[in-house]
Amino acid sequence: ARTTTAADAALPTRALPSGAPPPGTRLSIAVHTSQLQLADSGLDAKLPFTVSGWPNLSAGPDVIQGFRAHSVDLANNAGIPPIQAQAIGVGARIVAVQSRNHPLYTFATAPGTDIARAEDFRGKKIAFSQGQAQGVVVLRALKEAGLRTSDVKLVALPSTQFLTALQARQVDVAPLAEPVLTKYLTQYGKDGARGVHTDVVDLLSILWAPVEVLEDDAKAAAIRSFVPLWAQGVVWAWEHADAWIQAYYVKDQGVSADDGRRITASLDQPQFPLSWDRAIAWEQQTADLLAEGGFVPKVKAEALFDRRFEGLAARSVPQKYRVAS
């Protein structure tokens, strides 16, 4: 039986096993997009181990529960869930990093407000969902605009209610992503709704795994062989945008092709850093922002990464998808 170890246990220091995972190795991978990308690109033929399941979990708390329940060995999330996991003593490490330098979220304003820049947020009601990426985006935007949280009125809402809250004019500003943003602006632009762009990014898209999975040499080897395929899958989706929109957004997610295109357009070309220094620094900033708000205890970001995997993803993709950091 697998046992879990405490989060603050020593990082796995053993060298990564080099060879292919032993036969019979199984991984449960909660990366729904990879499942489709590998299947559509034919990369799945290269998988040197058995995927026992592709659980469709994406929300941070759900993935953390999946880790605890030993139902998930590897998952794809934004930067915040690892901090939350660390804060409550669930040991998990980041094993691959994709950076997104293009802002994913735009601040949509309610009709009839006169907000043009982040500086105008002062005194306004801002939709705020603490535990989610959108929450961090708000905190960062305020910080960059030189505002403190006490200068605005944060309205706690789950991100799924942001649109409703704007429509009902219960908040003045809310961070929206595509396709909701375009939908909202098209419908309410004539009433004076606007999008306020900031350069606040939700930098990280990561793969992460529980510590005890990483300590299992067979599974660690399997993960090591999976990381390149994951990166190549992401690149494949980028390069075959139309097929991907059709396969994922339209067929799987049930959005229209237009919406799918809007979403892809809002994304930047994928980038995989060779060095994780910038990622760690960004993660530390995020952790500090959350700690300042009193949402989680202080966390050392360094401990969130398993640097044995550093650059593995970057090295497996063509040059133009690599960045130094």
């Binding site: 469709n56 139902s71 049930g254």
Partner: protein
């Protein structure tokens, strides 16, 4: 004696409701739809806020054409059906156990009251830990919700059986099993049916919760996805589907109830 004013009418003013009209129960929902239709036809309703029935119907047609609606509904039906089955069984067995012995009552009843009070959102993490994130967990969550609905109502109805009938059963030296069959079960059926009706709905509502976890299909998943992408027309299609299923399953249970409880002579006739 005052003047004996005679009335030529056959029967007096009823205090209970009158005769039932077939399908009368549809009046309310149809009226609702009519108001919705009228409000959006008269542009009284901002289509950005609540899509009109026309475009909802169009969206529904689309969803049906590409098979998404049926597929999702079928999968959900299966989950809800399994959960319903196990939940009803558990609820009834627990109700009988708690109703017929004090020990059973003390063991089961308080525990279920506590369970009932605990939000499924909070139970979910524990159930994931015990049962994983597969179908087993999903069916269990649904079954738990159903079981509680069935239990509470069946138990209340069961313990409310007129003691004169219990006395009769004792005077006839009925075996415990025959007592259960001839007195307890029929006597608690009225409550059981209320519980079942609540349970059927609970099984549908449970889908919304469980199909957020590791699902790629189901009507709950569809609703959740639509919410993520702010597809308000899909949400409303889902909502209408929920409404129709809720109404239809309720009507089905009632139809069974009417047959099974035909012995009753009640206010409703």
């Amino acid at each position: 004696m005052t003047e004996a004013l005679s009335r030529p009418r056959g029967t007096r003013r009823r205090l209970g409701p009158g005769r039932a009209v077939p399908f009368g129960r549809l009046l309310g929902p149809l009226l609702l739809v009519a108001v919705w239709w009228a409000a959006s036809a008269l542009h009284y309703l901002d289509p950005r806020i609540l899509t009109g029935p026309g475009s909802v119907a169009a969206t529904a047609a689309d969803l049906v054409r590409d098979g998404r609606l049926q597929d999702n509904v079928l999968i959900s039906l299966q989950r809800a059906g399994l959960g319903l089955l196990f939940g009803v069984l558990a609820g009834v067995v627990l109700a009988v156990a708690a109703g017929l012995s004090r020990f059973g009552e003390y063991l089961v009843d308080g525990t279920l009251q506590v369970k009932r009070a605990i939000p499924s959102l909070a139970m979910l993490p524990l159930l994931i830990l015990w049962l994983g994130i597969g179908e087993q967990m999903k069916v269990t969550v649904i079954a738990l919700g159903v079981a509680v609905s069935v239990y509470v109502n069946t138990y209340a109805s069961l313990t409310g059986i007129d003691s004169r009938y219990v006395e009769l059963a004792e005077s006839l030296d009925l075996s415990r099993w025959r007592f259960v069959r001839t007195v307890v079960v029929p006597g608690s059926l009225p409550g059981f049916f209320v519980g079942l009706r609540l349970g059927v709905t609970a099984s549908w509502l449970g889908l919304i919760v469980v199909e957020q976890i590791n699902s790629t299909s189901g009507i709950g998943y569809m609703m959740f996805q639509a919410q993520q992408y702010a597809q308000s027309d899909v949400i409303i299609v889902g909502l209408v589907a929920y409404g129709i299923f809720g109404f239809a399953s309720d009507a089905a249970v009632r139809a069974v109830e009417r047959r099974v409880l035909s012995w009753r002579r009640t206010l409703a006739g």
